[in-house]
């Protein structure tokens, strides 16, 4: 699905970061752990924007960030359908029905025509998730998508992702393995020197093991 060869994550003029090579297979579902400042988000941006060091099997990529990109003045359903609007595609009644159906799956069926500005953080995250699902992307990139949410909402989101993203290739970037444990099995660890793994996520059950791993010593 994704072949990365010698991608330099350093930011010009900043401290040097790792140059990585990494192969992601179709259907892989991987948590990418790492301390802040190791270039996790830079890596996702490079995947989205493209780079000579990255070969993508598909251009259909979905991205879900900590601050979901939802237009606050638009309604929930308008935000789910935003991709169609921005591409200038005609929205068939089929698409709208599908969007409504997906909103039901993320437990927002009754909120379709509410303005997004009025939703809670957890509800906004679910609107963004519904959009990701409607876009039928092959590769789903999640950049700390649960970071601003409380623990119970995180658990709910993880459960939803587990069911609804089951058929996709997933890279979940996080610095907290608890966000991934409920849902994924495999993890890679990004440090300022290299990318290591795969590890089994339950190897990081103890804080010591996690800190060792994030330091690149596991």
């Amino acid at each position: 699905m994704l072949t990365i060869t010698n991608l330099d994550l350093s930011y010009p003029g900043d401290e040097p970061l790792a140059t990585i090579s990494w192969q992601v297979e179709r259907g892989d579902q991987i948590a990418l752990l790492g301390r802040s400042g190791t270039g996790k988000s830079t890596l996702l941006a490079a995947i989205i924007e493209g780079s000579p060091a990255i070969i993508k099997e598909s251009e259909r990529i979905a991205y879900l960030s900590q601050q979901p990109a939802l237009l606050p003045w638009a309604t929930v359903i308008e935000n789910v359908l935003l991709g169609f609007k921005l591409r200038g595609d005609t929205q068939s009644s089929d698409t709208t029905e599908k969007a409504l159906n997906l909103l039901g799956q993320v437990e927002l069926g009754t909120h379709a025509h509410r303005q997004v500005a009025l939703l809670s953080g957890g509800q906004k995250a679910r609107v963004a998730l519904a959009r990701v699902l409607l876009e039928q992307s092959d590769l789903v990139l999640l950049d700390e998508p649960f970071a601003g949410l409380d623990r119970s909402t995180r658990i709910q989101m993880a459960a939803l992702c587990q069911t609804l993203l089951a058929s996709k290739t997933v890279i979940l970037v996080t610095h907290d393995p608890r966000d991934a444990q409920d849902w994924l099995d495999t993890a890679m660890v990004l440090t300022t020197e290299s990318i290591k793994g795969p590890y089994r996520l339950n190897e990081f059950a103890s804080d010591r093991a996690l800190i060792q791993a994030l330091d690149g010593d596991l």
């Binding site: 991205y63 960030s65 900590q66 990109a69 606050p72 003045w73 935003l82 921005l86 876009e135």
Partner: protein, 248 residues
């Protein structure tokens, strides 16, 4: 009532101080007329003053509208392209860095002593804050949003009209608020340099004849006028703002 009192208190204090200075220092009235003298002139010469006030108000309001429309349009034209912004920015900054006093005589020469030159001055002064704030609005989109929208494979024009443009509106409005507070400068400076009506003209005229009280009366009317226009614009901007707040 309480709000009105706290808003007028500084003015009452100022007038009180003014009165005190006039009485205790026995300042001659052609240097500093007493508040009551100014008030009397204000009432007696009201038809004269209000005619000039109307001229100045229409210069300010029209300049404000034209400058806002132009500023917003220019920002929209160049805001979608980083390169175009970089190229145009120096010219925009220069248009603002040149003091209006320096440009005024040239505008008089080109546009005459009537309404047009004052409109141009006010427009010029309004234009920059509106353009600059709108451009800031175009740049304010978080990186994660840009990446997300990119994954939706948008058409450039659609992305502009449905996302970037509405997101920039609150920024543009704060530019308009600033512009409303500086717009009177353009109109009055224009009148000083050359005109036959307007509060700026009246003040200059009164000054030349030693009618300091009339000058003060005109100044007070100008202050009230500027304040009214500003609060009207502020109110309008707030109404628009409610419809387009940015994500928290």
């Amino acid at each position: 009532m309480n709000r009105l009192l706290s808003a007028t208190f500084p003015f009452l204090l100022l007038v009180g101080l003014w009165w005190l200075v006039v009485i205790t220092l026995e300042v001659p009235h052609f240097i500093l007329p007493s508040p009551e003298r100014v008030a009397r002139v204000l009432v007696e010469r009201l038809p004269l003053i209000s005619g000039h006030a109307f001229t100045t108000a229409s210069e300010i309001v029209c300049g404000l509208m034209l400058g806002t429309v132009l500023g917003f349009a220019v920002a929209c034209l160049i805001g979608d392209s980083k390169k175009l912004t970089q190229i145009t920015m120096p010219a925009l900054v220069i248009s603002q860095a040149l003091p209006v006093f320096a440009i005024a005589p040239i505008l008089m020469l080109w546009l005459g002593y009537g309404f047009a030159s004052k409109l141009a001055m006010t427009t010029l002064i309004v234009f920059f804050p509106v353009t600059a704030s709108t451009l800031a609005g175009f740049r304010a989109m978080p990186r994660s949003w840009e990446l997300t929208f990119q994954t939706l494979r948008p058409k450039r024009s659609q992305l502009f009209w449905f996302v970037r443009f509405p997101l920039a509106i609150p920024y543009a409005l704060s530019g308009v608020r600033v512009a409303a507070s500086v717009a009177p400068i353009g109109a009055v400076v224009g009148e000083w340099v050359g005109s036959s009506s307007g509060l700026g003209y009246l003040m200059l005229h009164a000054n030349g004849r030693g009618q300091t009280d009339l000058m003060f009366a005109a100044l007070i009317v100008l202050c009230v006028e500027a304040l009214l226009i500003w609060s009207l614009v502020n109110r309008l901007a707030n109404r628009f703002d409610q419809n387009s707040h940015f994500a928290e």
